[in-house]
């Protein structure tokens, strides 16, 4: 404790003790003449300090340390969880890493899509062309994820519905692309 705080503590304790003594035996304070200005000032100062204390209390963060979860056995990750996190980060433009996440998501989806199309019998170049032209699927949202000109075949109704949707366009297209790839992969 600093000297200032210690001095304040001693002064405060002395004043509290004096006040209690006067409260118990009022004759001890017979010589004290209450000054209205001093009392009002003291009251206002106490109110200001109380306000500061309340503010400090409200701003205090809960710093309770985490306790070990002893009851449940350690759970294991599920493949694809990291990709879900990247998709979520990609949907929030305010995040610093969203550009990097966007690129990683696109690269991974494209590699998987090319592998699926190659497995279906296309040459790698033809698979990339099919992705760029959007001819690999009937789903316009899925096609738009990889297409060079994503807006070309989208109807006005679809565009209107899309503008009213809360889900970001890039995320919606990624979801559709994954579903279209899953359908293709299951066909074999």
């Amino acid at each position: 404790m600093s000297w200032g705080r210690r001095l304040g503590l001693v002064l405060g304790l002395a004043l509290v003790a004096g006040g209690l003594a006067v409260a118990v035996a009022p004759e001890l304070g017979s010589g004290i003449r209450p000054n209205t200005a001093v009392l009002t000032g003291t009251g206002i100062a106490a109110l200001v300090l109380a306000g500061m204390a309340v503010r400090a209390r409200l701003n205090a963060t809960d710093r309770r340390p985490d306790l070990p979860a002893a009851e449940r056995s350690q759970s294991h990750a599920t493949p694809g969880e990291a990709f879900d996190r990247q998709l979520a980060a990609m949907a929030s433009p305010g995040q610093l890493h969203s550009v990097r996440d966007r690129r990683q998501v696109r690269d991974r989806l494209e590699a998987t899509a090319v592998a699926v199309l190659v497995r279906d019998g296309l040459a790698e170049d033809a698979a990339r062309d099919a992705l760029a032209n959007g001819t690999w699927t009937n789903d316009p949202h899925a096609a738009a994820f990889f297409a060079d000109d994503p807006g070309a075949d989208v109807s006005l109704t679809t565009q209107l519905r899309r503008s009213l949707s809360l889900e970001p366009t890039i995320t919606r297209r990624a979801h559709h692309a994954i579903d279209a790839l899953a359908r293709r992969a299951e066909q074999r």
């Binding site: 006040g19 009392l39 710093r63 002893a70 056995s73 493949p79 994954i178």
Partner: protein, 440 residues
């Protein structure tokens, strides 16, 4: 060990090392000074002495909170388990006796026992709150459900507060206890067709070598000394030429069951589902049983940071060693390893140990491309590979669906390289083997 002390309130208690101590203020009475000041101010401004006096009560509490210090934690724990060698799914009762060995009273002691991370608490609670005078003891007990593995207890967490609850001290307390070792028996789950890579010993693996056997191989020109039972009498009647029928010889194989136990293999389709490593270990036990029944020599190895190797063999003693290894080897622990895995180094060491004529049966969830490349290298190096792949993927989210597609692509890559790969979904292994119908 000497206790170390820190006062970093931002650390979680889970990060504390054994016998490490930390202190913090609970902030329980934070704000009481504000109440005291409001009461005092109202009393002064409204000229009400009673309110000012009431405010001093708050001051007293604030002073108490400032002055409080946490008590020293000097406790001894004694932990006992009802069965240190249970069967899987057995309930094991854990009893912990806590004794205050210090000289001061512990008015508020909370204890969380260090339950082994791979065990679930079935009933009771490993958490306990009490007050202990010096020398006094208390007991907590709870039940855990046994699962495969050697489960060591972790140090318990003891948190003690002063009477006002303002300051607390936390400490990890060790207790000597026998680990719970659960060793499941090996249960056969059906036949896995092996690759035609065999030893010179007779067995039951069909080879492409012509000779005695049951399955037809070729008809060849008669050589003196051929047994009469293999002469093609029908051919002799038709053409008048002597010929001998060759059958596919049945020989024994030398098999190494290789379990993928890298961190990447500790995956499960949901938080409560068992990991792919757990399923792989169970599959390895079942396959060991089935393959040794067919007179093959079978060994065990793991792809993990911790070396794990048992050379191919057979017999009662070998079987007991396999059972023990699959249950308790650290490389196959129920929780993932922390150490990094270096694929090239581990693969080179494994290749040096593999007998020349050994083939591999690999249990892996195929969660990354590294394992596919490794298996292709083993196969092209002359150790024929068969894969049994427990599926840890799920369809719940787009990312999980994508991981499922990638895994299916890996299965296709292996199959197109002539490596048989069994996709073992959420079903018993016997069902998956039967679905494959003898051709993985």
């Amino acid at each position: 060990m000497r206790a170390t002390e820190s006062a970093d309130a931002d650390r979680t208690y889970a990060d504390l090392g054994p016998n490490e101590t930390t202190t913090r203020r609970t902030e329980r009475w934070r704000g009481v000074s504000a109440l005291a000041l409001v009461a005092g101010a109202a009393g002064v401004l409204a000229n009400q002495p009673a309110l000012v006096v009431a405010g001093t009560v708050g001051i007293a509490f604030a002073a108490l909170a400032r002055a409080a210090g946490p008590p020293e934690i000097e406790v001894a724990l004694e932990r006992t388990v009802s069965d240190a060698d249970p069967d899987p799914d057995d309930s094991v009762t854990v009893t912990v006796d806590v004794t205050n060995t210090g000289e001061s009273i512990l008015p508020d002691l909370r204890l969380i026992d260090g339950v082994p991370p791979a065990l679930d608490v079935a009933s009771g609670s490993p958490r306990f709150g009490t007050a202990l005078r010096p020398g006094e003891s208390a007991t907590l007990s709870y039940d855990v459900t046994a699962t495969r593995g050697n489960h060591a207890f972790e140090p318990a967490l003891a948190v003690a507060r002063d009477v006002s609850g303002t300051a607390e001290r936390a400490r990890r307390v060790r207790a000597d206890a026998t680990p719970i070792a659960c060793v499941p028996s090996l249960k056969s789950a059906g036949e896995l067709p092996l690759r035609a890579q065999t030893t010179g010993q007779p067995g039951r693996v069909l080879t492409e070598i012509g000779g005695s056997g049951v399955a037809f191989h070729t008809t060849r020109e008669y050589r003196p000394g051929d047994p009469l039972s293999r002469i093609d009498w029908n051919g002799l009647a038709k053409t008048g030429e002597l010929a001998t029928v060759d059958f596919r010889e049945e020989r024994a194989a030398s098999v190494v069951l290789l379990i993928d136990a890298r961190e990447e293999a500790y995956r499960a389709p949901g938080p409560d589902a068992e990991s792919a490593v757990e399923r792989s270990v169970r599959a390895a036990g079942a396959l060991y049983d089935a393959l040794t029944d067919e007179e093959n020599r079978v060994g065990i190895a793991a792809l993990s940071p911790e070396p794990c190797w048992l050379a191919p063999g057979a017999g009662t003693a070998h079987r007991a060693r396999v059972r023990e290894l699959l249950a308790t080897h650290p490389a196959l622990a129920p929780t993932p390893p922390d150490a990094p895995f270096y694929p090239s180094i581990r693969a080179r060491r494994l290749r040096r140990r593999l007998p020349d004529d050994a083939q591999l049966v690999v249990c892996s969830p195929l969660c990354d491309d590294t394992i596919v490349r490794l298996l292709q290298r083993f196969d092209s190096a002359g150790h024929r590979v068969t894969v049994v792949s427990p599926d840890p993927t799920s369809e719940a989210t787009p990312g999980r669906r994508l991981a499922g597609i990638e895994r299916r692509l890996r299965l296709s890559t292996l199959r197109s390289a002539s490596i048989p790969a069994l996709d073992w979904r959420d079903e018993p292994l016997a069902t998956a083997l039967a679905r494959a119908g003898g051709s993985v």
